[in-house]
Amino acid sequence: MKSARTMLGLMLLAATLAAAPARAGDTPEPAPPAPPCDVPAYLLASESSLPKVTDAVKANQPLNVLVVGSRSSTIPGNEASAYPATMQAALKEAFPAATIDLSVELQAKSTAEETAGTLVKLVEAKKPTLVIWQTGTVDAMRAIDPDDFRTAINDGVVALRGAGADVVLVNLQYSPRTETMISAPPYLDNIKVVAQQHDVPLFDRFAIMKQWSDAGYFDLFSTAHGVDLAKKVHTCLGRALAKFVIDAAHLGPVQQN
């Protein structure tokens, strides 16, 4: 359902953009940058904010980022090329003067509920300014009840906020080869609901990767066994995520790539 929405959205979007002026506050549509990392502006715009990130960067304090995720937050054997690391690099590039610390907490086979239970301890130990919580894949694969999934994310977000961290949610990957086996839409929808309820910025990894696949930037159907594709996709995801964080924290002009 989500993929249909995205597709329709893109096409309707083109029509509306042609007819109506862009919404106030949006960055104007730039000249199309070179592929492969082009992401439509609406996928990187968030109405929610990240006040703690804003304050930390403005006060020149170290920005402490904690990524909590499952196995799709890494590339086995190539952690340095996975999106958390490339996001850190992109943030450093954007704020050369700032210190950006990154820690990654992988919980390979944990559902959102299992992860949510560990979040407070993690925040106490690492004292992050920003927690990027990637979730949903394990729940979709195990067909967890979407209501339970939503409750778990909800509890997790409340706990993280209560512990004093900003939160960004990251949803599932777009994985066309397993589309007939993993039902992503209920989980995508429920993450979105929680994000709306709590005003949490949601990095729509699924829609972005789908967009890249539709635009032909990446062949996500590829049967190639090498890590090249994974590295490229993660590099792009990391950059897009950095841009998304900068935008949500209202930290200056969004750089294009």
């Binding site: 359902m1 993929s3 249909a4 929405r5 995205t6 597709m7 329709l8 959205g9 309707l12 979007l13 509306t16 109506a20 919404r23 609406y42 109405e47 196995r71 799709s72 590339i75 086995p76 190539n78 390979a108 086979k109 894949t137 694969m141 195990r142 067909a143 967890i144 009840d145 979407p146 209501d147 939503r150 990957q173 994985s175 066309p176 080869r177 397993t178 589309e179 007939t180 086996m181 993993i182 039902s183 209920p186 929808d189 429920n190 979105k192 609901v193 709306q196 309820q197 032909g216 996500l220 159907f221 590829s222 049967t223 190639a224 066994h225 090498g226 890590v227 594709l229 994974a230 993660h234």
Partner: protein, 415 residues
Amino acid sequence: MSSIADPIAGSPVADAKAEAKVAAAAPAITLPATGERELRLDLFRGLALWLIFIDHLPTNLLTWLTIRNYGFSDATEIFIFISGYTAAFVYGRAMLEGGFVIATARILRRVWQIYVAHVFLFTIFLAEISYVATSFENPLYSEEMGIMDFLKQPDVTIVQALLLRFRPVNMDVLPLYIVLMLFLPLILWLMKWKPDVTLGLSVLLYALTWQFDLYLSAYPNGFWAFNPFAWQLLFVFGAWCALGGARRMSRILSSNITMWICIVYLVAAFFVTLTWYVPQLGHIMPKVIEQWMYPINKTDLDVLRFAHFLALAALTVRFLPRDWPGLKSRWLRPLILCGQHSLEIFCLGVFLAFAGHFVLAEVSGGAALHALISVCGILIMWGMAWIISWYKHSADKGASKKGATGNADLAGGGA
């Protein structure tokens, strides 16, 4: 054709007067007079089958045409409702004429057919994913590939599939249908006693499902994607309409107030749907409404979805009379043919969707190929429906005339 097609006949609305006299003396349920086949049912069931097929394929140009993009409900609602309607029609007659045991026996035979069809589809699915599992090792998706882990325990998986507890994505409708059909004898028996009470019980079960979160668990974990406790409402409502309910509602259906309520609701649903596709519109929606409304739960047949289906159905009945000449036009013939052989065409659709995914994955093609695959699939479904009906009219002619009446298979009913 007429001899075997008669089970689905009569109009819910037009025969009201003629039936009223009969109804006074007859048991609580009434069946419309035997006559011409109700082509509207076939038409919309055929349409639902095409839409389900398109929805099961990856998004493409034709996906734009499916109703789920313009409101809350989708083709599944149409399919289950019409299935309830036709099943009650066919087996309700059997129950009145042959009694409870005969009707139950026939229903169980139908359930068996659907079950076999489901197992057949599962075999095809198993072949497909085994292929993907052995040929596809992209490190980008090492996590998602974990879904194949069940292949490590084929014994358990296959037994669970036979028990309907292991059901891959897109294979949820038939198990739902099997369960609903299993309870059809009970539903019909209650309907024979008091149709409105039966419908009331169905609503009650639906409400209890929401209140106490009733569900059926699945293997290896999770739950049924279409919760039978909730979806039975559409099925029973279809049965209730078939057994005289639609006729009793005809005054409500023809009132202008109903029409306007339906129109307003459909337009509102359309605008809500529009905000999903045009993110720019998202901020127009009041947050309070968003929080109250989302998520719109398909598993438990959200009230918003049910209401959306009711509104669509009410307008359809109003603006598409059963004697509309267009129903006989050759342009609608493919849809009607598909609707008349729904179990076969449904299974074929699921298979074609698997095949379509496979082709799209192997051959990198653009939007044109996507659309082409959808169109080819629909043509194949039409061709198959034509062949099946040819078998029934010509090839099997004279082979077996017995058991023609009331047989759901012949009636295209039941599935």
